[in-house]
């Protein structure tokens, strides 16, 4: 418990003109911790995720990241090249639509291998071996290694996107509705896979989802957003079993029982 937070977020705000994207968000994320951001469409959760991952520039506030050398760096003032390198190596970003995170016209193996080359691996045989290994971990057969993701089903594409992100051993992965749009059996398999990998690799994850069951299964801690504000946060099962805020109570009571 003596370790330091991986990410320190301080009073982060983003405005779209007069409208609030997200406002005054502060939290620490610890190594190995899975944080879920939940809320309905338009609540600001994706805006927050994009500000944290530097895909959007926040208007106010700061995000500091603990670099591998043990120093905190303010992401907003980091040079572009260095930030891009960070995103390609120490971070992952899993998009809801795999087509946004994959290159659809190169092979599955190359999709995974490309990230390895970004960290300096040049040996073709080793790249191919590691890529094959990762395809196996996400349950994609080696016989599909040379196929393009265009020829994959939605669930397979999503698993490929995860392999592409994890091959460089990132310490922090952002996920935007990773199971959205998949049918339930595919979703269950993917969740199980993500859960296992997060545990085995000790990943820190920030996952945006509107699905409270996904949040329950994956996350340690959650933040509930409404109108750009974090209205409730805490241990995931505390928030779900004993919700305090009217809006959280509404969300929890709206879950359909099967």
């Amino acid at each position: 418990m003596s370790e330091q937070p991986l990410l320190k977020v301080h009073e982060l705000s983003k405005f779209y003109g007069a409208r609030i994207g997200c406002r005054d968000v502060s939290f620490d994320l610890w190594p190995g911790e899975v944080l879920a951001i939940v809320g309905e469409s338009g609540s600001g959760k994706t805006t927050l995720l994009n500000c944290l991952s530097t895909r959007l520039t926040a208007d106010v506030g700061s995000v500091e990241y603990l670099m591998r050398d043990g120093q905190y760096r303010n992401l907003a003032t980091m040079p572009e090249a260095e930030r891009r390198f960070l995103m390609r190596t120490d971070w992952g970003f899993v998009h809801q639509n795999p087509a946004d995170g994959l290159r659809m016209t190169v092979s599955a193996g190359a999709n995974v291998g490309e990230r390895l080359m970004a960290v300096g691996e040049r040996h073709y045989g080793r790249i191919r071996e590691t890529a094959g290994d990762w395809l196996g971990r996400v349950e994609i057969g080696l016989d599909r290694m040379d196929d393009q993701p265009r020829a994959f089903s939605g669930g397979m594409r999503q698993r490929l996107q995860i392999a592409r992100n994890l091959v460089t051993s990132p310490r922090l992965v952002f996920m935007d509705e990773p199971t959205g749009g998949l049918d339930v059996s595919v979703q269950a398999r993917l969740l199980d896979l993500i859960r296992g990998l997060v545990q085995d690799l000790g990943l820190a994850v920030i996952v945006v989802t509107h699905d409270l069951a996904v949040a329950r299964l994956l996350s340690h801690r959650m933040m509930v957003m409404k109108n750009g504000l974090v209205i409730e946060q805490g241990l995931t099962d505390r928030v779900l079993d004993d919700p305090r805020e009217p809006y959280t109570q509404l969300l929890v009571s709206s879950i359909l029982q099967v």
């Binding site: 199980d192 079993d241 004993d242 009217p246 109570q249």
Partner: protein, 234 residues
Amino acid sequence: MATPLVVSEVAKSFTMHLRGGTLLPVIQDVNFSVKAGECVVLGGPSGAGKSSILKMLFGNYGVDCGQILVKHEDRVIDLASADPRTVIDVRRKTIGYVSQFLRVVPRVSAVDIVAEPLAARGTPIEAARARAEELLSALNLPRELWSLPPATFSGGEQQRVNIARGFITDHPILLLDEPTASLDAKNREVVIAMIEEKKQAGVALLGIFHDEDVRERVADRIIDVSGFSARKAA
């Protein structure tokens, strides 16, 4: 510290915002402690707040006021005010919980569900699985079920998976929410023996048992929760 769990002046109520902000008091002025090697049973009628107390001790429910002091490694933690990260660490190392119902995870086998808490504490997965199999075997869960996800198991079978999961670690505090409710006589005996073993090992146990026979045999002390009731007698 011989008393690993001390609860003092704890109160809990629910505010039902969807019901016009109705305040639903549950319990107040809860005071008790559990010693190492002791099994304390929460008694009282349904709705008196027994499960709520266990959920507060495990961190599923927040508390309005009061302290829940737990000996966690070489420190004393107040769970009522601890941050999520501390609560997670306390659950990993100090407080175990056998809930009334198993929360099944799609695709995860019974043996892995049982082994998980041990693996999470750093035991190699093969050793954790071996221990899980011993427990499932002791609880008479048919071997052919071990590698299956428990979603399709009967109530009693799920309950035994849940018990094995709760008992696999050597957490110094163990909370038991009706662990014998859906078990037959033979397996009830197994659980009673397992509780006895935990007591011998110096674990502090706090449980809810509706079965009087089981309660008689495991309880060192019974706390009547209706004494903490926050609902005024009409």
